[in-house]
């Protein structure tokens, strides 16, 4: 279709918070979190907002691509935990890079990086003059976590991931699904102080129905991977890596089992960073790329799911 990835980058805060550290704050322990979620530690920001994390990831991706920021024709970013609704994260990253290209955010929670890639593909098709697009997923998700709720605060982490896309033919196929509703995953905003508004304030944190999320995630990963393989007349042996959203190790393991795919095919780093929402796929992709285990010409599948509910997957030739 319309691009290839020429650079990846990530940035996470320096503050490492272990499961034992969290056990000092909420009633939990390392064994429970490790077994049920697969996270050993995560990063929580002490002095960087989401746009600042995103800017550093973007700079790392730009350096990796070996280009000048001025070459970028558009910036698309995503977050659920930005320090501002306006300016968008993309606008703040554009400002930080000191460039003047168009910039906007796309909202699709944990699936957002896939939606950013699809948006970029559409813009490459629409604007023949566009040569390079920067995509960034960035989260200071600790800002929307309820640190008295042990069922959610142990899962997530802060971080940012980015990729530089260049006009090309390596975005081979994609599938995106939305089942709108707020009963399974919801991140509420502050209602404001209008004296006229009567609806009850929902606490402005992440609310998640664990079992329903698990079911949705496993089903969507399985369906999306199957669709991409069948539609492109491929078998799993043709795929070098699957890079899934790092939501919960058990989601990945159970999806692998249902699909009859070896767990080792799924790149996982959730144990180090937790669930970083829109940043998890680009962080994982950057670590995979830098590991030396990804070669030019390899076919990979990226897949994600989350609030919306939304889920998406794409097939890329590296």
């Amino acid at each position: 279709m319309s691009f290839r990835i020429i650079g990846t980058g990530m940035h996470v805060p320096s503050k490492v918070v272990t499961n034992d550290d969290l056990a000092q704050i909420v009633d939990t322990n390392d064994e429970w979190i490790s077994k049920r979620v697969g996270v050993k530690e995560r990063r929580f920001s002490e002095d960087e907002f989401a746009s600042e994390l995103g800017l550093k990831a973007a700079q790392n991706a730009i350096a990796d691509a070996g280009i000048n920021p001025e070459e970028i024709d558009a910036i698309f970013a995503a977050t659920v935990s930005g320090e501002t609704s306006s300016p968008s994260m993309a606008c703040m990253i554009q400002h930080g890079l000191g460039v003047s290209c168009m910039a906007m955010d796309v909202s699709a929670a944990c699936s957002a990086f896939l939606f950013l890639l699809e948006t970029a593909a559409a813009f490459f098709a629409l604007h023949q003059e566009y040569k390079k697009i920067l995509v960034v997923g960035t989260e200071r998700i600790s800002g929307i976590l309820d640190f008295t709720d042990r069922s959610t605060c142990v899962i997530f982490g802060d971080g940012a991931g980015a990729a530089v896309l260049e006009r090309g033919e390596n975005y081979l196929d994609s599938v995106m699904t939305v089942k709108g509703g707020d009963d399974v995953i919801k991140i509420a905003h502050y209602n404001g102080n209008s004296p006229y508004f009567k609806k009850e304030q929902v606490s402005p944190y992440i609310h998640m129905q664990g079992q329903e999320t698990f079911k949705y995630a496993v089903t969507s990963i399985s369906q999306d991977i199957t669709t991409l393989l069948e539609r492109n007349h491929l078998t799993i042996d043709d795929i070098a890596w699957i890079v899934p959203h790092q939501a919960n190790k058990r989601i990945i393991d159970f999806a692998a089992k249902r699909l009859g795919i070896a767990k080792e095919k799924f790149f996982c780093n959730i144990e180090k960073y937790g669930n970083t929402s829109s940043a998890s796929v680009p962080i994982a992709l950057d670590e995979l790329a830098k590991s030396g285990n990804l070669k030019r010409g390899d076919k990979i599948i990226l897949c994600a799911f989350g609030g919306g509910l939304s889920n998406a997957a794409c097939l890329i030739e590296w």
């Binding site: 049920r36 664990g210 079992q211 698990f214 079911k215 496993v218 089903t219 058990r250 159970f254 249902r258």
Partner: protein, 73 residues
Amino acid sequence: MVQEKIIELLAEATDTDAAEITADTAFADLGIDSLDLTEMAMQLEEEFDIELEMKPEINTVGKLTEVVESLRG
């Protein structure tokens, strides 16, 4: 048939001898958590072509067997 399948899935998930699991076995006694139950529910849905919603009151092998059998009609 339904109960045998449930016992088989539980034995696999918990590394327990299937002979030790009966209709009266409570899920809590096997040390499994809500995600284990969700995984089992999804496998039963596939096996018996049903839609199964796990509720807290479905807490033993026998009760789950009854629910699955009623859903199969």
